[in-house]
């Protein structure tokens, strides 16, 4: 008897639960579906971001007690010649990307997009292929191409009667790093610019031709303004990428010679992992983050991303 009562009650309860669930499911489920991202984001990004700030205020060799040093790591950075050198090198790479790789990519995209040219997909695909290699494989190939004595470039120069240049020495190593980056990243930027060019409505050009605008005027008053969104995207991606350059200088010259090719990421790695100065390394990381945030903001501002009327 008693058993029956209990079981019928549980059936009622079960029905209630199921009815509740069928009502609640659509409210609860989306949070469940998105929760893996937020859990991983908090554990593996937000946590470390805050912990990095905390570490940057301490001296810590990775084990044992931490010593609070306030802003000591940051003030030390300001006078650390190797840090300043790596900062300058990184800026050099970023500037190099902006004045060399991006204009080249834009020029190639304009040529491929022009009515003069056929074989469009040959060029598109050909320029694009290098990005499929890993940075490691790409840098290893160029390590041989730039070999100070017997590299392909010097062999080529020798055939022309020009004496060998030391591509991996202090004076030229940054150019060599940029060349590896240009090889891998020009093609993808060509694709980005082509995407932008192809999204310009053709009737804009037709209307301009009717009004008698020449090629230059069309480029200046239609192509450039219409490319603005894509240029912003390319600019931000290039800036973030060049400030996090790591494998190319590491494998090409181990950051050297004499730290001539060392980037901020290389120096952070050296401090954090080779020299076990985790606090100091974290301070470099935060300086890097502030630079990247600051420059992204400036780019967004310059391109008018914050202007309401756009």
């Amino acid at each position: 008897m008693g058993v029956q009562v209990v079981s019928s009650a549980s059936i009622v309860e079960d029905r209630g639960l199921r009815a509740w669930w069928s009502r609640a499911e659509r409210k609860v489920v989306p949070y469940v579906f998105i929760s893996p991202f937020y859990i991983l984001f908090i554990v593996f990004s937000v946590g470390p971001l805050i912990y990095a700030l905390y570490l940057s205020l301490h001296r810590w060799p990775g084990s044992g007690p931490m010593r609070h040093v306030g802003l000591g790591n940051y003030t030390y950075l300001a006078g650390d010649p190797v840090f300043l050198k790596s900062l300058w090198n990184t800026v050099y790479y970023a500037i190099g990307a902006f004045i060399f790789i991006l204009p080249l990519a834009l020029l190639l995209a304009l040529l491929i997009n022009s009515t003069l040219i056929r074989l469009k997909s040959l060029f598109r695909i050909g320029y694009f292929l290098p990005i499929l290699t890993s940075t490691v494989a790409a840098t290893l190939i160029f390590l041989m191409i730039f070999n100070n004595q017997f590299g392909l470039i010097n062999q080529g120069l020798a055939l022309l009667g020009i004496p060998a240049l030391k591509w991996l020495d202090e004076e030229l190593v940054k150019i060599s790093v940029l060349a590896v980056a240009a090889w891998r990243y020009t093609g993808i930027n060509v694709l980005y610019f082509l995407t932008g060019l192809q999204s310009i409505p053709p009737d804009l050009y037709e209307a301009a031709q009717v009004d008698g605008a020449g090629t230059w005027a069309q480029f200046r008053y239609i192509t450039i303004p219409q490319l603005r969104p894509i240029a912003l995207f390319v600019g931000v991606v290039t800036m973030i990428g060049s400030f996090q350059l790591f494998a190319e200088p590491l494998l090409l010259a181990d950051g050297g010679p004499n730290d001539a090719s060392l980037t901020l990421a290389n120096y952070l790695y050296r401090m954090g992992f080779t020299n076990a100065k985790l606090g100091y390394g974290s301070a470099i990381g935060w300086v890097l983050a502030l630079i990247i945030f600051g420059l992204s903001f400036i780019q967004l501002y310059l391109f008018g991303a914050f202007r309401k009327d756009d």
């Binding site: 320029y127 290699t133 985790l278």
Partner: protein, 277 residues
């Protein structure tokens, strides 16, 4: 329009420039391939040879025999496949939720998601490594895969394609009593297969080519991936250039094959960020 001679001259210059760049970009590939069949002395002789004088396979044999290439190749493949499959699942599930439900805080949460893409890897690099040690994940594939498996870009990307799934289909499945997960799995997911393919090639390539995170997480040699092992070849006492080139070539082949098989997906995957901006 223009008079013909000017246009012809323009065309010649344009083609000349495009081909010059194309050849410059192709040369490293051919140089790499050719060097895999050469002895060290031939790589470094004064007159470079594109066709090896005495082609041989010794570099490849040594790569497999002395550097255990097949083993590291499989390590890379395992990590890339597990990463790709888990990333596709988590990204499409969250993308589905953002595209097909309305819930409190949705816009705020999506903004957080977009903002997460701004966190620079190197800023969190050191504490992330400390965390992975504390969690006991150092020197394990889990330590390589888990931190980046739910990357925001994939969710953002899947949301866009999930939005195209018709609501009527989902609602009629609900009337038939299907659970929300079944609706995602059996109705939404098959409809976004093309987008999944795009994201898959992208995720696979990123994982396959990843260098710096596996470099710090995988301490013991038998677990290491191809880029890590290849980077280790550089610092060796006597650098084996032919062997290194063979490794570079063979490590690139899977991505090249994938690219030629799924060209459209590749190009879309790599430019999608630009289009969406």
């Amino acid at each position: 329009m223009d008079n013909t001679p000017t246009r012809r001259a323009q065309r010649t210059i344009a083609y000349g420039f495009l081909f010059f760049i194309l050849i410059s970009m192709a040369t490293p590939f051919f140089w790499m391939i050719s060097n895999t069949f050469k002895e060290q002395y031939e790589i470094f002789q004064l007159q470079p040879t594109l066709i090896p004088e005495e082609p041989h396979l010794r570099n490849y044999i040594r790569l497999f025999a002395e550097f255990d290439f097949a083993h590291h190749f499989l390590n890379s493949a395992f990590i890339a496949v597990v990463h790709t499959v888990s990333h596709l699942f988590l990204a499409s599930l969250a993308g589905f939720a953002f595209a097909k439900y309305t819930f409190p805080l949705k816009n705020f949460l999506f903004l957080v998601l977009l903002g997460s893409m701004m966190v620079p890897l190197y800023t969190i690099f050191i504490p992330l490594f400390v965390l992975v040690i504390r969690l006991g994940l150092v020197n394990s594939y889990a330590g390589v895969i888990i931190p980046g498996v739910a990357a925001a870009f994939g969710i953002f990307f899947m949301k866009q394609s999930m939005e195209a799934v018709p609501d009527e289909l989902l609602d009629s499945a609900r009337i038939d009593g299907a659970s929300e997960f079944r609706i995602y799995w059996q109705i939404a997911l098959p409809l976004v297969r093309p987008a999944l393919a795009v994201l898959a090639v992208l995720a696979f390539m990123n994982s396959w080519n990843d260098f710096v995170w596996p470099l710090v997480v995988l301490r013991s040699r038998e677990l290491q991936t191809l880029p890590v092992v290849m980077a280790g070849m550089v610092g060796m006492y006597r650098m084996e250039h032919g062997v290194i080139m063979a490794a570079s070539l063979l490590s690139t082949v899977p991505i090249l094959l994938l690219f030629f098989a799924l060209q459209k997906q590749f190009v879309r995957g790599l430019t999608v960020g630009a289009i969406k901006s």
